[in-house]
């Protein structure tokens, strides 16, 4: 039986250290998703990500779907995306051994967009937020979403 790329993505994320048993249900549900488009798949998965676990997948999915909620009492206005800094962070990230290892695992994901989502989640989990934001924006542009501010 062929495992869908979405299932594999979820399985890979769930198999990462720090992702606990309560995500198993999510894995089962995600495997049954029938959405065709990338956004549809992410939306279907996002609705299951109510737990505080699977945090990185939830974070990047929220970003891609543009569902971040801006708080009112912020210290300062949100600064615009800095592509140069993000690219530099990306270059740094792909040299990191843990990131390299996880990205290598992700190569088995057939669906290119799902693989990109996985990569964004890896960058998030390892603290390379500039790289994460860069990849998220690229994916948003590719699927026709308005890039995050």
């Amino acid at each position: 039986m062929k495992i869908s790329s979405l299932s594999l993505l979820t399985a890979l994320l769930l198999s990462s250290p720090g992702h606990c048993d309560d995500c198993v249900g999510l894995y089962r549900q995600a495997a049954q998703k029938t959405a065709v488009t990338t956004i549809g798949k992410i939306q279907a998965m996002w609705s299951d990500l109510t737990s505080t676990k699977c945090g990185s997948l939830r974070t990047v999915s929220t970003q891609i779907l543009g569902r971040e909620r801006e708080a009112r009492t912020q210290l300062e206005d949100k600064k615009p995306f800095d592509p140069v800094a993000a690219q530099a962070n990306f270059e740094e990230a792909i040299k990191d051994d843990v990131v390299k290892s996880k990205l290598e695992e992700g190569k088995s994901i057939e669906d290119e967009d799902m693989r990109t989502l996985y990569e964004a989640a890896v960058f998030d989990a390892e603290g390379f937020y500039g790289a994460r934001d860069l990849v998220v924006r690229q994916l948003q542009q590719k699927v026709g979403m308005q890039p995050s501010k």
Binding site: R69, A71, T73, Q74, E76
Partner: protein, 371 residues
């Protein structure tokens, strides 16, 4: 019941009545025992703003806004007796426990606008409601760094120590139990939510060079909570929306069992126009400076403020140049006015120049010995 609560002021009373009784009692006792100056905490409302969000004390004379219900209603009573009619005074007496005088509360049209505005500036939302609302918003935050993650174990101890250090200098009694979270962002922003929820960007903690700004950011967000900025807006919305929204009246009795339901309902209406308020931000800056002054001697205070100021965006000189252009004709004036209304947000963050000037003033006020 509907007739009785069909005024904004009685709405306040309704909120209070719905707070768990034992918790309310504990609140009052704690406040009194910690600071037996309830009378002194009564706020002297000398003016009311037609903008509910307006801050009356931008210099932050009090780091903690009075919370005790007794203090707040004493303030309202004081204001009422001075400013409004006997009818309204009877109404306020009704809030204190006695029945409102017959015929005074049934018609919302009988409530003076000034009394309604004064009610918006007091703290009457029960702490339980505020925390529930903050918790509701918190649950929508999806970028929180897990404390048990590798990075969480690295950065939370730093942030926790900072918070403990700052709160250690807060000598005024407060009922807040602050909860601190790190956001997975490389930027250097910070956020507060009602009920004591604080959030710092991880970018503030990654390098020592941003430590000063991190302290300022945390003090600033603590100030937002202690001044109850967002909570007061929520109260204002409740007061405003009460007479306008029948469904809100019907939802009111559900507050005790599910405060988030009502609070979020009110909040939904205001998100459309509420962003940032200049006065509140400047006041939070001022309060942060006062709190940091308790932690640091003057030179270190100066460098900490500079850590924040130095990371602000550069001042856009072209803005002020444009603003000073005087329209020559009536038509130009109209166009200019229209552009101003359309392009200027109702609420915004103060610009870098405003913040720097305010912080400079606060620093001078704090470090200059009184004559």
């Amino acid at each position: 019941m509907k007739r009785l609560i069909s005024s904004p002021i009685l709405l306040c009373a309704a909120f209070i009545a719905m707070a768990p009784f034992s918790a309310s009692m504990a609140t009052a006792e704690e406040t009194v025992s910690a600071a037996p100056i309830a009378t002194d905490n009564a706020k002297d409302i000398k003016q009311v703003s037609n903008v509910a969000l307006k801050v009356l004390d931008k210099d932050c004379p009090n780091l903690v806004q009075p919370f005790s219900y007794a203090d707040n209603f004493k303030s309202l009573s004081k204001f009422t007796l001075a400013e409004v009619t006997d009818k309204a005074s009877n109404l306020v007496q009704g809030i204190f426990g006695a029945k409102p005088a017959a015929g005074t509360a049934a018609n919302p049209d009988e409530i003076p606008d000034s009394l309604k505005l004064a009610a918006k500036q007091l703290n009457w939302l029960p702490m339980e409601g505020e925390v529930a609302y903050g918790q509701h918003l918190h649950e929508q935050e999806t970028a929180i760094l897990d404390r048990d993650s590798r990075l969480g174990k690295k950065y939370y101890p730093i942030a926790d120590a900072m918070l403990a250090e700052l709160l250690g200098k807060l000598t005024e009694p407060t009922e807040y139990k602050f909860q601190l979270f790190i956001l997975k962002n490389s930027t250097r922003n910070a956020v507060a939510r009602p009920g004591g929820f604080l959030y710092l960007d991880q970018g503030l903690l990654e390098k020592d060079e941003y430590r000063d700004k991190a302290y300022f950011a945390m003090a600033h967000e603590i100030a937002h909570v202690l001044q109850r900025h967002e909570t007061r807006e929520l109260q204002s919305m409740a007061v405003d929306s009460f007479t306008a929204k029948k469904d809100l009246v019907e939802t009111l009795p559900k507050l005790k069992s599910d405060p988030a339901l009502l609070l979020d309902h009110v909040k939904m209406g205001k998100d459309i126009y509420t962003q940032h308020n200049v006065d509140q931000e400047l006041q939070a800056d001022s309060c942060a400076t006062r709190l940091l002054a308790r932690l640091y001697p003057a030179p270190k205070l100066a460098s900490t403020l500079q850590g924040f100021i130095g990371d602000l965006p550069p001042v856009d000189e072209t803005v002020s140049a444009t603003d000073t252009t005087v329209p020559k004709t009536q038509a130009d004036k109209l166009i200019s006015l229209t552009q101003d209304i359309v392009s200027t947000p109702m609420h915004r963050h103060p610009n870098s120049k405003e913040r720097k000037e305010n912080l400079d003033k606060m620093y001078r006020d704090i470090t200059t010995p009184a004559k």
